[in-house]
Every structure is written in C-alpha cells, then in structure tokens.
C-alpha cells in the first residue's frame, strides 16, 4: 500500500463546533489578510484604479489606447516571442546543466553548482552592459573575432537575438535549480526499467527522464518566463538601438511622458499575460498523479558514466560557464578597474579610483548600510509571513489562505517601475497610517511586495513535503496546536525558509528598478547608487559598487553553508548526549 490518499481536514463543521484553535486560525488569517491588504492589495489598487480613469471619470479609454495602437501590439508580440525563445534557451541551458551535474560523473560538482547559480547575483542591467562590453561592436569577443578571422563577427548584440541570449543566460538558473532538485529526487528505477528493456541512454533521456521531470522544467520555465516578460534592463540596453520595443520598455516610456494611466493599463496587460501563462503552464503540467514519482524518500541517482567523453564534457561545461557566467563578471570587474569605460587594457589604465570615489560618497556608503539592513529585514519578514500563509494554506487548510497566496503572488509579474509608482501612490499621502514615503520603510514595503512570491514558493513546497502525520503525532501526544507548530513544524520547515531567505536576500540586496523610484535622502540603497552612477555616466563607479556586492553575496552563500553544517554538527553533538 504505497499510494494512499492522505486524509484531508475538511472545515465544513458547524460553527459552534469550532475548537479554540480554529478560532485561532481565523485570527491568524485575519491578521495575514490585513498584512497582505496593506502591503500588496492597497498599492495595487492605487495603481489600477487609475488605469480606469480618464480626466477624473471612469473610462476604458486607456485600455482602448493600449489596444488600438499597433505599436503596443507590436510590443506585446515582441514581449511574447522574445520571452518564449529566451525561456526556451534558458530551459535548454538549465536542463542540460542540471542533467550533467546530477546524472553524470563529471568531477567538481559542488563548484559547478555554485558557479551555475552565480548569474543570480548580478543585476540584469549589468549583465546587459557586461555583454555589450564583451560582444558589442567594440567588445572583447568582437575584437578577438576580428583578429582571428579578419571579418566582423556574425552576431549583433543590439538585436532581438542579443536580448534573447542575455535574458536566457540571466534566467537559466531558475530552471537549473528546479530541475536539478527534481532529478535528485527522481526514482532512478524508472530509468533502469527502460535500460533493461533494451533502451539506449540517450533515448532514455528523451523518452523517460525528460518527460518525468517535466513539471520541474515547466516550473523553472515559468519563473524564467515571468522574469523575462517583466525584465526591463536588458531590452532597454539592447533593444532600443534596434528600435525593438517590448512591453516593459513601452511602459517605461509611458511613465516618462508621463502617462500613468496608460502605463498601468499596459501593466495590466503584462499581468494578464503572466496569468494566462501561469494557467497554461498548470494545464501543461497535467494531473498530479502522473508525476507522483517524485517522492520524499532518498534514492541513489542513476549516474551515467561518461568514460572517454568525461574530460570533453567537463571542458565544454567549463567553457560554457566561463563564457556565460564568468566573462560578464570579469567584464564588470574590469570596468570597475579601468580609468574609463573602453580604455585600452594597458597597465597605466588600471586604477582603484572608482572604488575610492564611490566610497567617498556618503550616499553610497549609506546605501551599502541600508541595503545591508533592508535585504535581511525584507527577507525575514517575507519568510515569516509566507510561512504563516503557507501553513494556513497547506496544513491548516484554512479556506481563503489559498486566495491570499494567489494575491500575494501577483506583483511578481509586475515590472519594478510599476511597483515603484504604486508605492509612491500608496505611501506618499496615504489614506491611513504613517507616511512611509521619505523613509527607509517604503523601500521595505516595496521589497515585500516584489519578493513575496519567492517566500511563498519555497515555504509552500517545503510544507507540502512534511507529512501530516508528523504533526498529528505531536497533537495526539498531547501537544497543543501552537506547541506542535513550534516544536515540530517550524524545525522541519527551517531549511525551506532558509532557502527562501537567501533567494530574497540576494534579489533585494541589489534591487534596482523599484528602489530607484522611491528612495530618498538617507534611504539610499546599493541598487540606487549603482543606477545613478551608471545613469550619469560614471560607469566605473557603478561597476565598482556592483563588484562590492559580489563578496557580500558570496559571504552569504558561505554563511548558509556554515549554518547547514552547524545544524548537522549540532545534531551529531546532540546524538552524543541523549538529554541535551
């Protein structure tokens, strides 16, 4: 009896039968609803009712303006096809990398895994600029190509192709992470069954392995896709020169004119696209039972021996890594060290003055400190709130919690600039509560809105993996509901919370598009300063700041590794003395 239906709690009892904890659940739901209403629904509402206003009257004119202009269709169409292709490429890179790392005997797996997620740590705007430096008309690669072949290279970074490529190499870690996880958990006897049925290794990958990890591929693809459609920096830097517009660059333009109603109407379009895709992806995922193979039990993965191909695969992998991951980082570091952008690589052109200059600016220093406060604060709040929502949704099966989860995920599909605008609208002259605008708090609120989805995603999936009976066992042992949460659920949820925390921290630490609209003096962030420096032509200083964030993120990574080890050591120690 391996597959049995886990009995579900139903909450259909008559109200008078509600136990005290049921009431407690309601209270929790109420508080969370309040939190989501204030941090997410209220700002969203502030933006969206304006899209239905023309000169103080209700009207759909803004939407007709969006839909009547062919250039907007063009932008929508561009957004779609570019994102689809970029996602396709990201899926290819991410899945292949995950497969090689998880399912073959390449060496240095730990190092490879770290390097493969490094693109997460670089702001997209910088990968775009980095790629211009590498593959632009006078970029490093271009020059090498010219020297080697004496002809201009066959690529053009300022093109839809360039956008697709850079989006793909920025977003593939989403796919890599989810697919690698699924491959690690997949029951390898499914593959072995095919091998003993006479099927060759490549055919197995095509017919068995890939279809089975399809939910993970789709999940990663969805994240990559949404990140592509709401990305601004990359199409802005690479697309304008080719007169190639996507929705986000159009929205930015509308904000510039400024035509806020138009911008929000377009944002609604973007959100619709995201929602349609979400639903479509869910459909594609198919019924759950079809993929029940991914169970919680540990299995020994089926490792493909590469044999003679091993050094070649490794070399190819490192080459790819160097080209798509390390080179942009290298370009960034180079920029921060060169006297000016594009200078020759001669010794006297190297300088530390950008670092010195930027560190001499009190605003930049404050920015570093503020980011060091804001990122962990946002990560902590989001993780706690989303753990509570996920708990109500997954474990307590409280009606309404699922809706809350859904609502809190919506801002994920919004471009950062729209979130920024919504923050000003909501908090500069608020209908209630304190004026957050002008303080650090508004940045916190902006980050919470933007990254809530990350927290929800990681806590939800972890909770789903914790079998109900673990909590019920505590409950029937005499622990109250609250005590059960404290002693059983939380400790088991901790790894998921930590993973979510790190993801949010990294993203919030150099967040750019939201911050740049809502920061004020005293409330600068690193992202803001990177952008301001960049925008006013101090590319070197901007790069220097961006480089300064890399060790922070690296340290954070090491810190979490250390935490995990500490946990293991604590267990070992505890295992040594029974009554600890």
């Amino acid at each position: 009896m391996s597959q049995r239906i886990t009995p579900q709690h139903k909450v259909s009892e008559p109200p008078a039968l509600l136990r005290w904890w049921l009431d407690y659940r309601r209270v929790m739901l109420l508080l969370l609803t309040l939190f989501i209403a204030i941090t997410i629904v209220y700002p969203l509402y502030q933006v969206f009712w304006r899209s239905l206003m023309v000169d103080g009257e209700w009207s759909l004119a803004n939407y007709s303006a969006v839909f009547l202009r062919p250039s907007n269709y063009m932008a929508l169409w561009n957004t779609l096809w570019v994102s689809v292709l970029a996602t396709g490429l990201a899926v290819l890179i991410g899945t292949l990398a995950a497969f090689v790392v998880q399912r073959t005997d390449v060496p240095h797996k730990a190092l490879l895994s770290v390097l493969l997620v490094l693109p997460f740590a670089i702001p997209p705007l910088f990968s775009a600029i980095g790629w211009v430096q590498l593959a632009g008309p006078v970029g490093l690669f271009t020059q090498w190509w010219r020297e080697l072949f004496g002809a201009p290279p066959p690529w053009n970074i300022y093109s839809p192709g360039g956008i697709i490529f850079v989006l793909a190499v920025t977003n593939y870690p989403f796919v890599f992470i989810t697919v690698a996880g699924a491959l690690a958990r997949m029951d390898s006897s499914l593959e072995e069954a095919a091998r003993t049925s006479g099927v060759g290794p490549l055919r197995i990958m095509k017919d068995i392995t890939l279809p089975l990890v399809r939910p993970a591929i789709l999940g990663g693809a969805l994240l990559a896709f949404v990140s592509s459609i709401d990305n601004f920096g990359i199409p802005a830097v690479l697309g304008m020169r080719a007169q190639f517009y996507v929705l986000t660059t159009r929205i930015y333009e509308a904000l510039t004119i400024p035509n806020m109603p138009l911008a929000t109407a377009m944002s609604v379009l973007l959100v619709l696209v995201a929602i349609v895709c979400l639903v479509a992806f869910r459909r594609l995922e198919g019924s759950r039972g079809q993929y029940a193979v991914i169970s919680g039990k540990s299995v020994t993965p089926n490792v493909i021996r590469l044999g003679k191909a091993r050094p070649w695969v490794l070399a190819a992998l490192y080459l790819t890594l160097v080209v798509i991951v390390l080179m942009p980082v290298f370009a960034l570091v180079l920029t921060s060290l060169l006297r000016f952008w594009g200078a020759d690589l001669s010794a006297d052109n190297f300088t530390l003055r950008h670092y010195i200059a930027v560190l001499n600016q009190s605003g930049a220093r404050r920015g570093i400190i503020n980011s060091l406060i804001l990122a962990p604060a946002a990560a902590t709040i989001i993780v706690i709130v989303s753990a509570m929502i996920a708990y109500l949704n997954v474990k307590a099966r409280q009606r309404g919690a699922g809706l809350l989860d859904g609502i809190a995920t919506v801002p994920f599909a919004l471009p950062g600039s729209v979130i920024g605008v919504s923050m000003i609208l909501a908090w500069s002259n608020p209908a209630f509560g304190p004026t957050l605008y002008g303080t650090l708090w508004i940045l916190l609120a902006g980050y919470i809105m933007r990254y809530m989805a990350f927290g929800l995603q990681s806590t939800r999936s972890t909770l789903q993996q914790i079998h109900d009976s673990l909590e019920e066992a505590a409950w029937t042992s005499g622990a109250s509901r609250l005590r059960t949460i404290r002693d059983i659920t939380l400790p088991l949820l901790r790894p998921g919370m930590l993973a979510g925390w790190v993801l949010i921290f990294i993203s919030a630490f150099n967040e750019l598009t939201v911050s740049v609209l809502i920061w004020t003096t005293g409330a600068e962030t690193i992202g803001v300063w990177i952008f301001l420096m960049q925008d006013s032509g101090f590319t070197g200083r901007a790069a220097a700041l961006a480089v300064l964030t890399l060790p922070v993120i690296l340290l954070l990574y090491l810190f979490t590794q250390w935490l995990t080890k500490l946990e293991a050591r604590r267990r070992e120690r505890r295992a040594g003395k029974p009554d600890a």
């Binding site: 806020m260 609208l425 909501a426 500069s428 809502i518 006013s536």
Partner: protein, 304 residues
C-alpha cells in the same frame, strides 16, 4: 530668519550639486539641504507620481527639462519668486512670471572620439555629422529629455527641420536609449561622433577619455536647466534663500569650475568654451513643445 530643512530634487550632476550645497550650508548653517539626486527620467516619474498621490515633497526642484516646469507651472505646483538676481539673468533664461529660472545652461552639440576623428575631420555642421553614417549616434528623444528638446528645436528650425532626422535615418545614424549609452559608445570607440553634451564630454575628457566637444555652426541646443520653488513648500522662506544662492555669483562660479556655462552675464564662462554670444543657439519654443510634444514623439517613434 529662515532655517530648517529644504528638500531639494535635482537631476544635476552630483559633483556639481554637492559643492554648491556645501558652499550654501557653510554660509547658512541654520538651513539643511536634503538632496534627492536622480536621473532626469526617474525624477520626472517620481514627481508625477507624487502629484498623482496629491503631495509634492520637494521644496526646490532643479531639473534638465524645461517642459516639465511649464507643465508644473500650468498645474499650479510652482511658486513665483521675485529673485534679487533676476536682472543678472537674460530674459530668455527665466520665466516671464518668475516661476522658474535657469540654474545653468548646457549645450548639445557634437561629441567625438579623438582617436577616430582627426582634427580636420571634426564635423562643423549637422550635415557633416551625417557623413559619419552608422558611426554617428544619438540618444533617443523618447528617453532623453535633452534629445527631445533637440528634436523640437530641429523641427522648428527651417533649415534642419524634422527632415534632418529622416536623412539621419537614411544615413544610418544609430539611436540608442539614453545619454549614458551614447557617452559610453563614443568613449569606447563604438561611435565616432555623437550628439553630445558639453559638460559630459569635458568631464570624460578630464577623466582621460579620448573625447572632445564641438559647437556646430548651424546651431547648438542651449538648454537651460530650470530651478523653481514649489507652491506647497513647507519651508518656503528657506527654499527661496537656497534658490537665490544658486543664482548668485558665488553659486554660479561653482558651476563654471565644473565646465558649465553660467546663466549670469556677469560671470565668465569656463575657459576654452566660447562665450554665450559666440554660440549660435537654436530657437526653441517650449510652449509649442508642450503642445506638440506627443505628436512629435509619435512621429519620431514611427521613424525610428
């Protein structure tokens, strides 16, 4: 005696604004300037968002796009200020109702890469500029306020006209997003000539980049960066003191040290730059711009 904090929104270069603020705070220790520096586009987005929300935080605004100020003036967000310095400033550099004053002037002309363009190749006219074909570049009027004004000035000019942009398109001139992008392009040698801004080119050259700036004979865009006190300022008195300081000789001298053309006739321009009279500035009618802006944008976006 005015005191307290003045919230100052500015899209002027930090290394310009900061020395002015320092000098001001030294002179008026009882007033503190709270600077919010931002790129011009983001600053406008922010200002309009605040207005949407019903409250403008700024006491003093100093930004690059005159159209913004016309707009603010029309909506009643600016306060008139009968500045003691107003007579030192030419009339075309201030609002007729004293609602705003140019705090500085910058010019858009031709920037070029000295490694790629030899002394005798330097374009002296906008026609010569076009000869560089795809090696010439401009930021997009849709994203750069200065270039938007340039587009307006060209369109209003009989000789150049909107047709210049059409010819540019044929010649293969590149249009990139913002000022930062063109600057990086010319510095790195991706572009030989660009529509550049005087102080940026001078600043880059001072950093050691191989760039220089030239004033084309058939017209330079001289763009005043207006400065105004807001109508709902919570510290109106101090705001006015600060505005006056920027317009004062002392304030303008700080600008000149940073390669800016002063707005006062009684302050010498930076060395090496022609004096204000020697520059053939294009006529620009901001009211016309405000009226026809959207159409202009539309037209341009159809072209590029």
């Amino acid at each position: 005696e005015p005191s307290g904090t003045v919230t100052f929104y500015s899209s002027m270069q930090l290394d310009v604004v900061e020395p002015i603020i320092e000098a001001f705070e030294e002179r008026h220790p009882e007033i503190e300037i709270d600077l919010l520096y931002s790129g011009s586009v983001e600053l406008e987005q922010r200002i309009f968002s605040e207005i949407e929300a019903g409250r403008l935080r700024a006491d003093v605004i100093w930004a690059a796009n005159p159209a913004l100020f016309l707009n603010l003036k029309e909506q009643g967000w600016l306060a008139a200020h009968d500045s003691e310095h107003k007579h030192a400033i030419p009339e075309d550099l201030r609002d007729e109702d004293d609602m705003f004053f140019a705090g500085r002037v910058h010019h858009m002309g031709i920037g070029y890469n000295t490694n790629m363009v030899s002394e005798d190749e330097v374009p002296r006219t906008w026609e010569a500029f076009l000869e560089w074909g795809p090696q010439a570049a401009s930021a997009s009027p849709l994203h750069s306020g200065t270039n938007f004004n340039m587009l307006g000035a060209f369109t209003q000019n009989d000789e150049l006209g909107f047709e210049w942009y059409e010819r540019a398109r044929e010649a293969g001139m590149q249009v990139v997003r913002g000022t930062g992008d063109v600057t990086r392009g010319v510095v790195s040698g991706e572009f030989a000539v660009i529509k550049g801004i005087d102080y940026i080119m001078a600043g880059q050259a001072a950093e050691g980049a191989p760039v220089a700036f030239s004033f084309p004979e058939d017209g330079v865009l001289a763009l005043p960066s207006p400065l105004a006190v807001t109508a709902e300022s919570e510290n109106d008195a101090a705001a006015r003191v600060f505005l006056d300081f920027i317009l004062s000789e002392e304030g303008q001298q700080v600008l000149v040290d940073k390669f800016f053309m002063p707005v006062r006739t009684d302050v010498e321009p930076p060395t090496g730059l022609p004096s204000g009279d020697a520059i053939n500035a294009l006529e620009i009618d901001y009211d016309w711009m405000a009226e026809n802006g959207d159409e202009l944008r539309e037209r341009f976006s159809e072209l590029y």
